[in-house]
């Protein structure tokens, strides 16, 4: 019954959002851009939600996966690797998710088998930074610190961005939804709650942790791909910044991590705060954001989702 209602609400909201470009002029409206940005954040926030919210492994290296996704999109386009169309090409986008996922499996095996808790967080942070330095310093193919330029003359309208963003946000949310309703989801939550007990009940901890880590990387890579199409200029300074790890964490925790709606609420809320502050207080907006994080965490440690429980007790 509850699931049915949630399904109906999801369909209605998605349909309403899908109609927005027909009502509002997408090229001039800031609101459409705001929604597009929110969708991007929802995708990567759900990615972090799988790893940290449900499995309890705090990953601070998501920006590396995000950047790898963006670079995969750009490189596949420029070097013409898959020979498919490149502008919003499903193959390219899928590949942009798969490459980070494979990298996540490769680095997840040594990291997750050895490190736990804070040490895992530090290890992923270190790896993320190594990958960033590698992209800045290295490479004949990645363009070093200057980065890669995708031909921007293909841009015609904001509409495909909007719909792709909406679709991917829905996809990311459904991935999390179906994952948590399955046996895998139970295993992941069990690992978060008590690793030893989970192992004692026959859960292969390493396998599930790596699985969650790669799903998170996959979603981050998708977000990176979408951002690459929007930016047209991929450089370490734009897609490998630590902000692509910090913002999802922020949004996830402020919304309520380990829930399905939390990351969505958090992403939309924080994007709204960033945007409003950016318009009205261009100079001081990061100060305001910092203050807001402190206030939300101090007075609503369960996130915005927890607010509902406070108001309407079960």
């Amino acid at each position: 019954m509850k699931d049915k209602r949630a399904l109906i609400v999801t369909i209605v909201i998605t349909a309403a959002l899908a109609c927005v470009p027909f009502v509002i002029n997408t090229e001039t409206s800031y609101f459409v851009y705001f929604l597009f940005l929110s969708f991007t954040y929802i995708i990567i926030t759900q990615g972090w939600n799988v790893v940290a919210g449900y499995t309890g492994q705090i990953s601070l290296g998501q920006h590396a996966f995000f950047g790898l996704g963006a670079y995969t999109t750009a490189m596949n386009w420029i070097y013409d690797i898959t020979k498919t169309g490149y502008y919003f090409d499903p193959v390219t986008m899928l590949l942009s998710g798969i490459v980070p996922a494979i990298v996540a499996i490769a680095i997840g095996i040594p990291l997750l088998s050895k490190l736990r808790g804070d040490y895992f967080a530090l290890g992923t942070l270190g790896l993320g930074e190594i990958i960033r330095v590698y992209f800045i310093k290295g490479g004949t193919y990645t363009g070093g610190p200057i980065g890669l330029l995708i031909p921007s003359n293909v841009y015609t309208s904001m509409r495909p961005y909007y719909w792709t963003g909406l679709f991917l946000a829905l996809f990311a949310t459904s991935v999390v939804y179906f994952l948590t309703r399955s046996r895998i989801g139970l295993a992941l939550t069990a690992i978060r709650e008590d690793e030893t007990a989970a192992a004692a009940n026959g859960i292969n901890i390493l396998k599930y942790k790596i699985f969650a880590f790669s799903v998170g990387a996959f979603l981050s890579g998708l977000g990176g791909s979408l951002t690459a199409y929007y930016l047209f200029h991929i450089s370490p300074e734009s897609v490998l910044l630590l902000k692509w790890t910090l913002y999802p964490i922020l949004m996830c925790v402020i919304g309520g991590s380990g829930t399905i709606t939390g990351p969505i609420i958090g992403a939309v809320f924080m994007t709204a705060v960033f945007s409003i502050a950016n318009i009205y207080l261009p100079e001081t907006h990061p100060i305001l954001s910092g203050l807001l994080i402190i206030l939300v965490m101090k007075f609503m440690p369960k996130g915005l989702v927890g607010l509902r429980e406070k108001i309407r007790p079960r």
Binding site: G123, G126, L127, L246, I287, S289
Partner: protein
């Protein structure tokens, strides 16, 4: 390549590394103390150091107080600041099971202070120029600047000071006990809030020392803090979480690694090398390089 590696050069590289590494060392001790009782990595540490470096800078610029003399003002201010941070921001969050809350408050604090500084004082790099800034000590053909040497001495003194405090005084022993086992410490009547507050105060107090050392030696800007905190974190992990001397030695090791790494390969790669070494240490000796035995799994 090898023919330019003379004894002099190598020693100079080592000395530079050690002297810069002490800076990471003091920051890492602060992190270690806060981590010890609260079990969070206080990411805002680097930004607070920069903030206190600014305080030292303004004391010098506006009031003409000698930066080394201003330690007497900066350290008490920072002790109070640390106590204030704990009582004002972290008190409720420290009691929660979920440590992410405290971590995020620290991130928020970092954003806030960093951008406050950038807005109020502009993001131009600043440095303190005194009459003795250019003064240096030369022995055996090696040159060490006076300010760096002072920074080193301050770092060593504060390490010794914190060690004495933790091992000799009753309050210090309480902090140490709490960082070994908070529950057991609470059972024998140590108030978690009190020890958390003290750990925070001393951690930020050390940030004050680091701030003065930084302000007198290098130029700094508001955004330098986060990278500095990351480096301090690496130093902490190299030395072993929860060990004061280890954290200090970890800082020195990191400084040497960076100094030698950036000479042998190139500036940008030095970061990757230090992260690489950090990862290897995490994988194979997660209890840190300078800790002899593991007490708890």
């Amino acid at each position: 390549m090898l023919d330019i590696l003379s004894f002099q050069l190598v020693s100079q590289l080592l000395i530079n590394g050690i002297l810069f590494g002490t800076m990471y060392g003091i920051a890492a001790i602060g992190l270690s103390l806060i981590y010890g009782t609260m079990r969070i990595i206080f990411l805002a540490q680097g930004t607070i150091i920069i903030f206190l470096a600014y305080i030292c800078y303004w004391f010098f610029k506006l009031l003409g107080i000698d930066p080394y003399l201003s330690i007497l003002l900066v350290v008490p201010v920072s002790l109070l600041l640390g106590m204030g941070f704990y009582q004002g921001l972290f008190r409720e969050a420290a009691a929660l099971e979920d440590k992410n809350i405290s971590l995020l408050i620290a991130v928020g604090l970092m954003f806030l202070v960093e951008n406050l500084m950038a807005t109020m004082w502009s993001s131009n790099p600043r440095s303190i120029m005194t009459s003795y800034t250019a003064y240096g000590v030369s022995t055996l053909g090696l040159r060490v600047s006076f300010t760096r040497l002072m920074g080193f001495i301050m770092a060593v003194l504060s390490t010794i000071g914190v060690n004495l405090f933790l091992n000799k005084t009753l309050v210090g022993k309480a902090v140490k006990a709490a960082s070994e086992d908070m529950e057991a410490a609470a059972l024998v009547g140590i108030s978690p809030h009190a020890v958390n507050g003290i750990a925070f105060a001393i951690g930020i107090g050390l940030a004050g020392t680091a701030g003065v050392a930084l302000a007198t030696t290098y130029s700094f800007d508001p955004y330098f803090g986060f990278i500095f905190a990351l480096k301090a974190m690496i130093a902490l992990a190299l030395g072993g979480m929860g060990s004061v001397t280890g954290a200090f030695l970890g800082g020195i090791l990191l400084g040497v690694l960076e100094s030698v790494g950036s000479f042998v390969i190139s500036g940008g790669w030095a970061d990757a090398i230090s992260y690489g070494v950090f990862l290897i240490v995490l994988m194979f000796k997660p209890e840190g390089l300078f800790v002899r035995s593991v007490k708890k799994a």
